[in-house]
Amino acid sequence: MSKAVTGKPAAAPAARTELCGLTIAQAAAGLEARKFSAVELTRAHLAAIEALDSRLNAFITVTPELALEQAAAADLRLATGDGRTLTGIPLAIKDLFCTEGVRTTAASRILEPFTPPYESTVTAQLKDSGAVFLGKANLDEFAMGSSNMTSGFGPVENPWQRRGSNVKLVPGGSSGGSAAAVAARMAMGATGTDTGGSIRQPASFCGLAGIKPTYGRCSRYGIVAFASSLDQAGPLARTVEDCAILLGAMAGFDAKDSTSAERPVPYFRGAVTAGVRGKRIGIPAEYRMPGMPEEIEALWQRGVRWLKSEGAEIVDISLPHTKYGLPVYYIVAPAEASSNLARYDGVRFGARIDGEDLIDMYERTRAAGFGAEVKRRIMIGTYVLSAGYYDAYYLKAQKVRALILRDFEQAFAKVDAILTPTAPSAAFGMGEKMDDPIKMYLNDVFTVPASLAGVPAMSVPAGLSEEGLPLGLQVIGRHFDEETVFAVSGALEQAADFRSKPAVMAKGA
């Protein structure tokens, strides 16, 4: 459709796409030992994008020229022994992060002409760590969705397929392009954002690890805002360790975000292998729902056994307000969105549709620029904040949100981490669940409560469904205790030994 490729395509012939199969940890070691160059590694990924992305549509904008420039600079650094944690590592950046001089759309037509004059703090920190940016990854419009079907730049196809079927599946959302890019080995890792599950659910659907850190851990400065009290940036990658490496570079205090936490960033990578001996793991009775496939319950029980055999103590817990998470979310998130998205009025940036007068211009601009799901959420948000309904909806939701936080606080008095399924299903077909917004919302039933409470949560690939699709388990931790989340996730990853690969992938990776 309107995939923008800036600059010349990479010279393809000698691309070593087998390098795309490395983890970030392996690639960083290989780069440091000069087994291959950063330019070779970037070329390999650009070649994979060129070969696969006309089909998968994981990127809205690819920036090969910039990427190769960054890779060449990385090689110079590596040659002088001056490499940093991510020097030369090619990443995909969710197109919700403002990148100076590179178009940032939030997958919305209203931002189609927007080129930010500034850089988000998270991407600035990744650049400082030496990362190479391949381009901007597709997503649900303004991160509102669980399938990537609401993108104004076309849906993303999940690189995974059901066994013996070529039905196109969704990658989940909203960080669907990020997840598809990493799963197909078109990028070694990606940034995502998570407001109600937008990192964890696509990670689960695409066989990846992905963490939503504690609210306040990563700066929101320069990330296109959806629901400001919930939005958090985090990484998606193919291993728990790679997520720890990426989060270490993304996190940290930033004076430009008033909700940024003034806390030191722990060495997350060291936590991954810490083990779970003596750790108390809570199993919440409420993380089940009618119609949930038996195989998800079975996977969860397998996770429990794995942690037990690694020396963890399993504790049955209750999070009684779990079922109210989604209804709270679908008041709070649209309310905040209706306020945040008021800025798109066709005056200062973005698209404009002319009208008879100023108001008509606003209304036509917003009608043409926003897709159906975004309009629905703005209107719900406007309604629940409007005079006469504020107390009944918004205030009530904020009070129930407090009860959901209290559930977690009470649970964390007894346990160190909580284990649940990430999503109530594996990836579904493109076009499914589109007839009724509520059906789509139910995807996030297990991820939304942690978002509302602001606690860190990670999805780890734990097995395959009967149809051969990846399924994730979710580990939830205390506020600012990502280290325990990484330790439990690392133990699960070890035990699950997930090695399956998607149907669509870089050649030889």
Binding site: F114, A261, Y324, Y330, R348, G350, I359, D360, I380, I438
Partner: protein, 95 residues
Amino acid sequence: MSLDAATVRRIAKLARIRVEEEEVAVLAAELNGILGYVAQLDEVDVTGVEPLSGGAQMAMRLRDDVVTDGEMAEKILANAPERSGDFFTVPKVVE
């Protein structure tokens, strides 16, 4: 509570989104579906519960009331759909 067509038009007006007449019924049905779903919060007793407005477990930081930024008119105007010198332009508001 069920939204009628007039309420949908009023919300659209408040949200500054132009809604065509043929869209109203569809929107009303979708919005009512969502409001019906969230209505299950009615069964939760929140007596004495303080509302939770944010995800941050912290007090707001204060900073000195001084100018820390500015002098970047060109950057700010760079994405303007229409401009005139250092100003954004919009359709005439006062005749």
